[in-house]
Symmetry: C2
Subunit: 325 residues, 2 copies
């Protein structure tokens, strides 16, 4: 399978790293909006201008669109899907129906297959929700994120005047997590579920109290959470907070029996040293499925919920039944 | 969707209980090898002789075969699959290729679709293995079972002379489980991973030392494990050990990055008060998928690895994208 990496930020570099672990995957090239000569891929791949991707029609089976959900993907995934099979990691939940419709129209018109919203949430976590709620209907689904770096929240802090750099960790509240794990089905507010922990490098002479106040009162991002703000040096930030770990848990509590006398707890948990690399691994597996399904004539827009797990794997049906079933 | 319950032991009763939680499912009848007049279903369903199932061809969309893997399913699933869409929970791992081939031939000949090996292991655990190893190739898969009642091991103890009744719990060794959770990728023997805990009712005058010796030295079932044997009264067994709880964890440890510098731990865990009811819930979700896929013209033998998760759910694609993705 020949893929293209469209966009070369954290996620694009993750796809580059994960492609090297998948012997059935070759990378036709990296396509970037930056000056290609300014980009030096770790693995020596060819780099081309983003606009040149359509020149490679015969050399690409699936384009992995590594842009951001806020502004890139709504524009570029439909554009790419009109010429290529594509996979993206669109994660702005409220806008999925709109994105789905735009990508579906473009992909159908081009006779291509486009998988959106791949990764771990949406993605693996979505699968956990569907499998368990299909097996035992009527339960409660809980999702906890972290401990891990939220790039959106880190960016939001960086936009505050006087902030030189910042890293924000999303942290599940241990008591809430344990109550859900015990099957107690608690009712939890936003504040009950997660803490927000901020590590901030202030510019010289900046008003730290004003920065802290701006963070903890920021609507939507921080005001509904218990937030801690720690000021550190740029050296400390680089030394202690340069990774992009993340993870979390989807926990499902449900009951069964004629009197609902039996309770069941199902948990799917991730602990990831590198959020972009794990996400990239999921995107590559989805690209494999998209390539196979496209060869079977499937077109339009799909998500991981529409993909049979066997299509994600490099193993044959026989190997899967022998090794995995 | 109209299902038939073929076989009315623990699993068949579980399907009866779970069907009541799925508004899109109606049960055409229970089919049993026993005298139908001796069977009194909890929910007042009709009971017919097993041999009468073929008279109901127009009233059944999927037969859920609730027989045992040892002797029932190898004979009855191919027989049923020649006339009906079917789902079974065949779990004799070494014989899956053989079972698959026999069911596939019968289902294709009858133009039907048959899903085998549904449940949680094989089943949900198989899915966890395929998803995570497809996302990050090259890792280590660990499976722990329990704490839970193993019906096969309980039956094996009951066959020992002098044993009136018995219940066997499979228990993961906490230290092994924790080492795997920490991502240490330990090498573990059979004995390192699980303990076997036996609760035995001896017949009056039976030689308890001989029974204990017969248990702990029993090849394959107990000799490779650290096994504890506790003698109790029939009353205590009924009071404290009448449930059929089970569960376990599939844990995947893998690394990524150009230097494999990032490690990832993915865990899928079940804690089930009722093994048969949870398994039954999975079988019903699979029956829903089989019915839908059959209407799309798919025939032959498949497993859960071949089913798109959306097909398991009563929700529409739009609802799934809105609520689960």
């Amino acid at each position: 399978m020949r893929i293209a990496i469209y966009g070369y930020g954290n996620l694009g570099r993750g796809v580059e790293a994960m492609a090297a672990k998948n012997p059935d995957v070759s990378v036709t090239g990296i396509f970037t909006r930056r000056d290609p000569s300014s980009v030096t891929p770790v693995s020596g791949l060819n780099v081309y201008p983003a606009s040149a991707v359509t020149d490679f029609g015969g050399d690409i089976d699936v384009v992995i669109n590594c842009g951001g959900s806020a502004t890139d993907l709504p524009a570029t995934t439909p554009m790419l899907a009109s010429s290529f099979n594509t996979v993206d990691s669109f994660d702005t939940h409220a806008k999925i129906p709109e994105h789905f419709a735009a990508v579906d129209a473009a992909a159908r018109q081009g006779g291509n297959l486009a998988l959106i919203s791949a990764g771990w949430d949406p993605g693996m976590f979505s699968l956990a929700r569907v499998y368990t709620s299909s097996a035992v209907p009527g339960g409660n689904i809980y999702t906890f994120w972290g401990r891990g770096v939220s790039q959106g929240h880190s960016d939001a802090i960086r936009r505050i005047p006087g902030v030189a750099d910042a890293r924000q960790y999303t942290v599940p509240v241990p008591e809430a997590l344990e109550a859900v794990r015990r099957g107690e089905c608690p009712e939890l507010t936003t504040r009950d579920k997660h803490l927000r922990e901020c590590w901030v490098v202030a510019e010289e002479g900046a008003d730290r109290a004003a920065i802290e106040q701006a963070i903890v009162t920021m609507p939507y991002y921080f005001d509904e959470y218990d937030t801690t703000v720690n000021f550190i040096s740029e050296e400390e930030l680089l030394r202690d907070h340069s990774g992009l770990p993340h993870g979390g848990s989807v926990i499902y509590n449900a009951s069964s029996g004629f009197e609902n006398e039996h309770t069941h707890t199902v948990e799917y948990s991730l602990r990831l040293d590198s959020n972009p690399e794990f996400t990239a691994g999921v995107l590559i597996a989805c690209a494999r499925a998209v390539h196979r399904m496209s060869l079977r004539g499937v077109t339009g827009c799909i998500s991981m919920l529409d993909v049979a797990p066997a299509d994600l794997s490099p193993l044959s049906g026989e190997e899967l039944r022998h090794l995995m079933l």
